[in-house]
């Protein structure tokens, strides 16, 4: 890679956007720099399932021909998109073999918003199959590797997005978060990841996993960049009945308005301090909280007493919804179809058995079971009740403080293959993130430094009130500004 390319891909999204707008850089230069970086890093990290390659250069040249457009806030900015989002004319696999070479004719709402804003979509990022996993090892194609140490996992399920952002392949990426799938990989890869409030970003075009939990959000290298992307993708969509009709706040204005953390009450839930947290994670998070206090924040002890039940409730609700959402992948209309089926049952059984990986099959069975006649009350209905209690916990806590903080992951990135044989232990990796999806609230993860033992990134999770993304981003921006961000990762074998 040339030095110019390296310099370009190290810029923040906000910086590169401003330079493009001032024509200090052309869209083609920026896009070419990203393609160079992809070529250099992709063999080591496998962040992309589809690399659009030369096609995007033509798009960039067309943008340059038309000239910068002040109405397009992402004019010429190269981004990547998780392969769970449909992209018109570009293959969408959801990390699964069952979709085959499925190429949708429609963009996801959030993808359409990016294109309208002038972004260049470089490719589709790797993920755990149907977003089911915490390490991106459940991708049907290849595991993605952590650009800070390619022997380790990037987290998941939006691991490809986090890795592509951290490695400097792009200036931001869209991920999806059903139980922590944006925040946890952001934490493990040292980037910023935001899960918006349920309903803030339309789910149209997001291949559904757990429909009542799924949200689309940005992964970036700075908080400001996340705010920029959210400004573009947030808003009501008449094609998503669960999308909120509320106006979108001025996130950039909120960031500009806050210079310190005076008056901000940070709640630290007792349940997020408990056992099972690696000391290097605790230490880095505590240091971040100390810094927040220095910046004027007050620390409040709060409780989220139903947190211990969140894993059980989540692993009933999400698989139940998934078992139904994934029924459409039946080999009849599109995607993979078994060869020469004997009859209809054989067509279904073999197409699905061959097309879905182990974890997906496990969750489909789990979900089918908990919805079955005679079990519904004991499982699904009970889980829905627990979910209400968890939401009430958050409401009570957020009445006493403005932001809740805790680790996004109990550990830093672990080695590839370390947890694949132990699904329960893998499920525990989401212990701090998934209750937020049950509550439907917004949360983001910011990098707070490298773990003292592993040298791998540690992320702090900050959670806020429903549709309070502006306040949340503003507070995170101040704290992250003071702590600094790790920047672009080397994408090679770690020490």
């Amino acid at each position: 890679m040339s030095d110019t390319s390296t310099a370009i891909v190290s810029l923040s999204l906000a910086d590169v956007r401003d330079r493009l707008a001032r024509r200090e850089l052309t869209a083609e230069q920026v896009t070419a720099a990203c393609l160079d970086r992809i070529a250099a890093t992709e063999p080591a990290i496998a962040a992309l399932l589809t690399n659009r390659g030369e096609a995007v250069l033509a798009e960039a040249r067309a943008l340059d021909g038309a000239g910068p457009d002040p109405a397009k806030p992402l004019w010429g900015v190269p981004l990547t998109v998780k392969d769970a989002l449909t992209t018109a004319g570009t293959r969408t696999t959801c990390g699964s073999r069952i979709l085959g070479d499925f190429t949708p004719h429609y963009d996801a709402f959030a993808v359409a918003r990016l294109r309208e804003a002038g972004a260049v979509i470089l490719g589709k990022t790797n993920m755990d199959e149907f977003a089911m996993g915490s390490s991106t090892e459940n991708s049907a194609f290849a595991p993605t590797r952590n650009p800070w140490n390619v022997a380790r996992v990037p987290g998941g399920s939006s691991g490809g997005s986090a890795a592509s952002v951290a490695a400097g392949q792009c200036f931001g990426s869209l991920g999806t978060d059903t139980g922590g799938s944006i925040r946890q990989p952001a934490s493990l890869c040292g980037c910023v990841g935001l899960k918006p409030t349920y309903g803030r970003v339309s789910r149209f075009g997001l291949v559904a996993y757990g429909s009542s939990l799924d949200q689309i959000g940005p992964l970036t290298r700075t908080v400001e960049d996340a705010a920029l992307l959210l400004s573009v993708i947030a808003g009501h969509d008449p094609r998503d009945a669960t999308s909120a009709a509320l106006p979108v706040d001025d996130y950039m204005g909120a960031l500009a308005a806050r210079k310190d953390l005076s008056g901000v009450r940070i709640g630290v839930p007792r349940e997020f301090r408990g056992e099972g947290i690696d000391p290097e994670v605790s230490a880095a998070c505590q240091a971040a909280l100390d810094k927040a206090q220095e910046l004027g924040a007050s620390i409040v002890d709060v409780e989220l007493p139903h947190t211990p039940y969140s894993i059980a409730a989540y692993y009933i609700i999400a698989p139940a919804e998934a078992s139904s959402n994934l029924a459409r992948f039946d080999g009849v209309r599109y995607g993979r179809r078994a060869e020469s089926p004997r009859d209809l049952a054989d067509l279904y059984v073999r197409s699905r058995a061959e097309g879905f990986g182990d974890e997906v099959q496990r969750r489909i069975m789990l979900g089918t079971y908990v919805l079955s006649s005679g079990y519904y009350d004991a499982y699904y209905r009970k889980a829905a009740q627990v979910r209400r209690l968890i939401r009430e916990d958050y409401e009570k806590a957020l009445a006493r403080c403005d932001v809740l903080c805790g680790p996004a992951s109990p550990v830093t990135a672990w080695g590839l293959g370390e947890l694949t044989s132990d699904p329960l232990k893998m499920y525990m990796m989401d212990v701090f993130t998934l209750s937020l999806n049950l509550a439907g609230l917004p949360g983001l993860c910011i990098p707070v430094g490298m773990g003292g033992r592993s040298g791998m990134p540690v992320g702090l999770q900050m959670l806020g009130r429903a549709f309070g993304e502006g306040d949340l981003l503003a507070a995170a921006n101040v704290l992250s500004g003071a702590l600094g961000v790790p920047g672009v990762a080397p994408a090679c074998e770690g020490a």
Partner: protein
């Protein structure tokens, strides 16, 4: 059946008459080329979402009000999960625990006895597509035009005791959906279809017997015959000392039998749960109040009123109220001439004849009800004869012309001038001396011969009453 009593409940599916589908904007038009009224939503592509059609909710609520249901201000869409090639999402979006309407009833009268049939619930759901099996290439095809079309399912209590009652209930429901305009009622195209749960039990027994669910009953006649067959079949089973098994049976209209389709063991576990893609359906109190105020007079009430107010027979009232447009036409025509029985006769005679010939409905013709009322009035006033009215009816229906102006323009006005008629009578008598003799000899039936002669001379315009009077006087 002396020892047994039948217990029957009906599940009726009515396709709502919305222009677009329940969860997308595709057309609901029937008969389009396969897979042309299809988009990414109703074909179950990845990542797409349903958005409910507000008009369908309104229609379902109106139907509930018309059959005395409670309309729930909040109802919930639920997924009914099963695999079938015509079901692209792998689930149907229906309502389960909280349907839009509950606890209604409908009164029916059979053989002079009025019975109240309970309506358990009405829920909304989207229809599946259609599988087409091709013998030619031994393949199956799927047409998704119907996928996502809005339906309501109207579930009755097991309150009917005979096939006649079931048909009476079904006809009453049919008349209501058509009156409300929420369904076109077309049974051949499947817009209105019915499944029946049938069981029998010894008379006097409280517990229900084991029931069979009958499918494929696509006409009133098939409902009647299938239920009758099934009652007799179950009776034979019991009399042979066997037990009726719970199962789904398909009616074969050609052989007039029901045949087992699937047993209880093969019944699906539909794994219903609230659809997370859809918010609960909320209906504002103002909307409910407005829809209730807009509710039209329903067939039963209207029939009673027509009998009471216009002195129609029950049978006439029934024919005229079978279709809302026909009843509206009747009332508007009657308002013009004040002759309800004459209007009723002309509608059931000339009008229905002409409509049937053209295979159209009354709202599709040019003739306005005011024209029919005027036609009755000018016949009664002696301006034209009933025969001429009948002869010109088709032309009036096609053109929409007003009858009085029409007959004057065509010179069809009846001759009521005594001197003009007298001339014709005198001529007829003079030209037919033999017939005059015979008449005088006692063959009084020959009066119609003279009538024919005179009508020919006057081109049918002579007032027949005057002709008769003059003939009788002159032939004395």
């Amino acid at each position: 059946m002396a020892l047994y009593e039948a217990v029957i409940g009906l599940e009726v599916h009515a396709q709502l008459r919305t222009r677009s589908k329940l969860f997308c904007s595709c057309s609901t038009a029937f008969g389009a080329a396969p897979n042309t009224n299809v988009c990414e939503v109703c074909s179950g592509m990845p990542g797409v979402l349903p958005v409910p059609n507000a008009r369908a909710v309104e229609y379902a609520a109106r139907m509930g009000m018309a059959v005395n249901c409670t309309v729930n201000p909040v109802s919930v869409f639920a997924r009914k999960n099963y695999f079938y090639p015509d079901l692209p999402k792998g689930y149907q979006i229906s309502q389960f625990e909280t349907p839009i309407c509950e606890h209604g009833h409908l009164d029916i009268t059979v053989n002079g006895q009025t019975r109240r049939i309970g309506i358990t619930r009405i829920h909304m759901e989207d229809d599946a597509g259609k599988n087409i099996h091709s013998a030619g290439d031994n393949a199956s095809y799927v047409d998704l035009n119907r996928s996502g079309v809005p339906l309501i399912e109207i579930v009755s209590e097991p309150d009917m005791r005979s096939a006649e009652e079931a048909v009476a209930y079904l006809k009453a429901l049919h008349a209501i959906v058509v009156y409300l305009g929420v369904c076109d009622g077309n049974m051949e195209e499947g817009s209105f279809r019915c499944d029946a749960n049938v069981s029998i039990r010894p008379k006097g027994q409280q517990e229900f017997g084991t029931r069979a669910e009958l499918k494929n009953l696509n006409s009133f006649r098939n409902v009647q015959r299938a239920i009758e067959y099934e009652i007799a079949r179950q009776q034979d089973v019991l009399e042979d000392g066997d037990a009726v098994v719970q199962e789904t049976r398909l009616y074969d209209a050609v052989k007039n039998v029901t045949v087992s389709m699937r047993g209880k063991e093969e019944a699906h576990d539909y794994r219903y749960f609230p659809d997370p893609d859809l918010m609960p359906v909320r209906i504002a109190a103002e909307d409910l109040a407005r829809w209730r105020a807009d509710l039209p007079e329903l067939p039963q009430a209207r029939r009673a009123r027509l009998m009471e107010q216009h002195g129609l027979s029950e049978q006439d009232a029934e024919v005229l109220t079978a279709d809302r447009a026909l009843a509206d036409f009747f009332e508007a025509a009657t308002a013009v001439c004040g002759q309800p029985k004459k209007v009723s006769n002309m509608m059931q005679g000339a009008l229905l004849r002409e409509l049937n010939q053209r295979a159209v409905t009354v709202d599709a013709i040019a003739m306005r009800p005011e024209a029919l009322g005027e036609l009755v009035r000018i016949v009664e006033a002696g301006l034209i004869s009933a025969k001429i009215a009948n002869d010109i009816f088709g032309e009036l229906l096609e053109s929409g012309a007003m009858p009085e102006a029409f007959v004057k323009e065509r010179g069809l006005v009846q001759i009521s001038d005594t001197s003009a008629i007298e001339t014709a009578v005198d001529e007829a008598i003079a030209e037919n001396p033999a017939e005059v003799e015979a008449y005088k000899g006692g063959k009084t039936k020959l009066i119609s011969f003279f009538m024919g002669q005179i009508m020919r001379k006057t081109k049918g315009k002579a007032n027949p009453a005057l002709v008769t009077e003059l003939l009788q006087k002159k032939l004395g």
